[in-house]
């Protein structure tokens, strides 16, 4: 029973050791976290501001939910329409654009649909649909998924009827890329996740550069009028930092394999 | 409670025990009874009878392990108080998964005695009963005779007013049987009332001060031992004493 006593003591210790000052919670999208940029930004934020930003890495849909419930202090996501609705509904205090990256079309290196030579993103998708090559979708209501659905719409392809070649993974970017790699299928991914992805297999980057593929990230503080417990001061300090020259330098300078991933575009207020 | 273990303060005796029309049933089927019987303040009562005559059920009913379906089992004091002053030795020893010392000490611990003191008392009893060398051995690994001795020590350690024994020597050899009988006689001399079921006619003759003869779930005959063995009143008892089959 000595073991039991020790266990009980541990229980109390673990409950006691939780409170620490200067922490705030930020819900971010998987794509942002998978890019590795957070590993560069967070230590600098801690050094400059003394704030420990705790990241909750989720899809845009869940990030918005966490914000609505007041379980995080701010969110950093990329789905403009949803963000504006979030602010309009009073959940977010405001929306501040920080930076953008871009989406890329990934597929088998052999490129059976020949999208490498496509003139536009929607044309590339049409070619995949016409040749009925396998395409894996996130299927999880994330920002990336919403972007992809917009692209299909613009391409005039009805994916609901296309169950022979259109597959919904219902999971995050990494898991979806794993699925695509396993099926040797086409997939839409953000450039950062793709570059950091370790299980590329036969997949290759086939199409990029169409301006419709640009992906804007925005910072949304949670409305303190709705959730009085949010750490307004820390959130404001973080927002100032994210839009500062120091952040601009880090974000623009972040490269994987020599490629720039993010472009800083915050405007001073 | 603890005080009663060290010395018997003047408190009301729990005896006599009176059974009045007491019946035991299993799923509505009559098993034993109706039994009218009085267990007086002193002596050693031997319960005899063929297999299935209801000896065990009778003992269990007196001890409170078998529900009394009809009639009454009454102690001299309220039943609740009487419960803690009885002990029972089962035919198949129930060995707790503990060491011998802790098994014997268990009833004292239940009665609120400190662990160290209870263990010291248990060792004394173990010595006395011939288990002194086995103190630290796991009780379930003892031999049959040792297990029965342990049961006896565990039953006697809290100085019960009455001790029920259900064929405690059924599976033992002559030597172990004699050792146990010696312990029983000592307990009897110390003022513990004994009620024992047995098959062993020799043992019954050696120990009994009075006899209850069970037959077909009923008390067929009862009385002082001497009279019973010399001149039983019923044909069945006479046959049983002679060792003939009683149908």
């Amino acid at each position: 029973m000595k073991i039991l006593n020790r266990l009980i003591m541990m229980a109390f210790l673990s409950i006691g050791g939780m409170a620490q000052a200067q922490e705030m919670r930020l819900a971010v999208t998987t794509s942002f976290h998978n890019s590795g940029l957070s590993d560069v930004l967070l230590p600098q934020i801690k050094a400059d501001l003394g704030i420990e930003v705790q990241l909750l890495v989720v899809g845009t849909g869940q990030a918005l939910k966490l914000g609505e419930a007041g379980d995080v202090d701010a969110i950093l996501v990329h789905s403009r329409a949803a963000e504006e609705a979030f602010v309009a509904a009073g959940f977010g205090a405001h929306r501040r654009e920080i930076m953008f990256n871009d989406f890329v079309l990934i597929g088998p290196d052999a490129d059976p649909a020949e999208i490498r030579v496509a003139a536009s993103a929607s044309r590339a998708l049409q070619m995949i649909a016409d040749t009925e090559n396998l395409f894996v979708s996130r299927g999880d209501e994330s920002g990336t998924h919403k972007m992809e659905r917009g692209l299909w719409q613009a391409a005039g392809v009805d994916t609901v009827a296309a169950d022979t070649w259109y597959r919904e993974a219902g999971s995050g970017m990494g898991a979806t890329l794993n699925t695509a790699s396993g099926m040797n299928a086409y997939v839409l991914a953000d450039r950062a996740s793709w570059l950091n992805f370790g299980n590329k297999g036969d997949l290759a980057l086939l199409f990029a550069g169409d301006p419709v593929l640009f992906n804007q990230y925005a910072f949304l503080p949670i409305n303190p009028a709705l959730h009085p417990h949010v750490k307004v001061d820390l959130v404001a300090a973080l927002e100032d930092w994210l839009t500062s020259d120091a952040a601009a330098e880090l974000i623009n300078g972040y490269k994987i394999n020599g490629e720039t991933l993010f472009t800083f575009n915050a405007t001073p207020q | 409670m603890v005080g009663s273990l060290d010395s018997h303060p003047p408190q009301a005796s729990i005896l006599p025990l009176r059974l009045t029309g007491a019946c035991a049933r299993v799923r509505g089927k009559p098993l034993v009874g109706p039994v009218d019987l009085t267990i007086g303040a002193e002596g050693l009562t031997i319960v005899m009878g063929p297999n299935g005559s209801g000896k065990t059920t009778l003992l269990r009913m007196m001890h409170g392990l078998q529900r009394v379906a009809e009639g009454e089992v009454c102690w001299n004091i309220p039943k609740r108080q009487a419960l803690g002053r009885q002990a029972y030795v089962f035919q198949t020893p129930i060995m707790m998964r503990r060491r011998v010392m802790d098994s014997i000490a268990f009833p004292l611990i239940l009665r609120g005695m400190g662990k160290m003191r209870a263990r010291a008392r248990a060792s004394e009893w173990a010595q006395k009963i011939g288990l002194g060398d086995a103190l630290s051995r796991p009780a379930p690994f003892l031999s049959g005779g040792e297990k029965q001795k342990l049961s006896l020590a565990r039953a006697l350690i809290f100085k019960p007013d009455i001790l029920f024994l259900d064929e405690p020597c059924a599976n033992l050899d002559g030597r172990a049987t004699r050792e146990i009988e010696a312990i029983l006689l000592e307990a009897k001399a110390g003022g513990t009332r004994l009620v024992m079921a047995t098959h062993d006619m020799g043992q019954a003759r050696r120990l009994a001060s009075d006899v209850v003869f069970m037959y077909g779930g009923k008390v067929h005959e009862k009385g002082p031992a001497e009279g019973f063995f010399k001149g039983p009143e019923t044909r069945e008892a006479a046959m049983f004493i002679k060792g003939e089959i009683v149908e």
């Binding site: 541990m10 229980a11 990241l55 007041g70 | 392990l65 009885q86 029972y88 707790m96 998964r97 060491r99």
Partner: protein, 234 residues
């Protein structure tokens, strides 16, 4: 299969360099699950014994429910705990969501039915042995439960270890209520899930091997501490 080999290599590297992040993750995994097992045992063991010793009207139903609850899907538990602890939920004011405490709560809910159910089965057998003796010695209800728990402790340890196994390998619930926050609520399973998501299979396998090694060593340590498998000690 290359990934498995690489994973083994990564695991060795992580363990032998005593990687700080790894130690932190292992430490939190242990802290969360051991605490949950301790609390679940404090509830589950007496509950299992109590269900054996007491006869009451809905006893059978309670036991059936308990057995069914053993199969609770962790994801559902996580979701429910999340909704309860969320700032918008009934216990939101405590601010427990995304903390180790929330993870402990979720795991207690997952583990307790398991410990209670296994201990109920273990103690039922012991009670069949002890029933007459404990009644004869006039043991109170609580004394009966205590004696059964104490004498059944070897088998009950197995129940606790089963609970530990379920807790340490569980990802669905703690991912939701813990949030897998780096340096804060990241444990082995959520880290494995994260690395798998990044396609870092080798590293994920490495962490998986650490997890298995951890589960095995905890079992061994507890067994040797309690000196089971040694007949001479009771």
């Amino acid at each position: 299969m290359n990934e498995l080999a690489q994973g083994l290599l990564d695991a060795w590297k992580l363990i032998f360099t005593l990687d700080r992040d790894l130690l932190e993750i292992v430490g939190l995994s242990l802290r969360v699950t051991l605490t949950a097992v301790a609390i679940a045992s404090l509830i589950g063991l007496p509950l299992g014994a109590w269900l054996v010793v007491n006869r009451f009207r809905y006893r059978r139903a309670t036991i059936a429910v308990l057995n069914a609850l053993m199969g609770l899907p962790p994801v559902v538990v996580g979701l429910v705990v999340y909704l309860l602890l969320s700032r918008s939920g009934p216990f939101g004011v405590f601010g427990l969501l995304f903390t180790p405490a929330a993870m402990i709560i979720a795991q207690v809910i997952i583990i307790t039915p398991m410990i209670a159910s296994i201990s109920h089965q273990v103690i039922r057998d012991l009670w069949a042995d002890y029933h007459d003796l404990l009644l004869s010695l006039n043991a109170s209800r609580w004394q009966r439960i205590k004696a059964l728990l104490w004498d059944g402790r070897r088998a009950l340890l197995t129940a606790m270890l089963a609970g530990f196994g379920r807790g340490i390998g569980e990802v669905g619930a703690i991912m939701i209520v813990g949030g897998n926050i780096d340096h804060n609520t990241r444990v082995l399973t959520t880290a494995i899930s994260l690395e798998t998501g990044k396609g870092n299979f080798a590293f994920a396998i490495g962490l998986g091997l650490v997890l298995i090694a951890l589960a095995v060593s905890v079992n061994l340590i507890i067994h040797s501490l309690s000196k089971t498998e040694r007949a001479s000690n009771w």
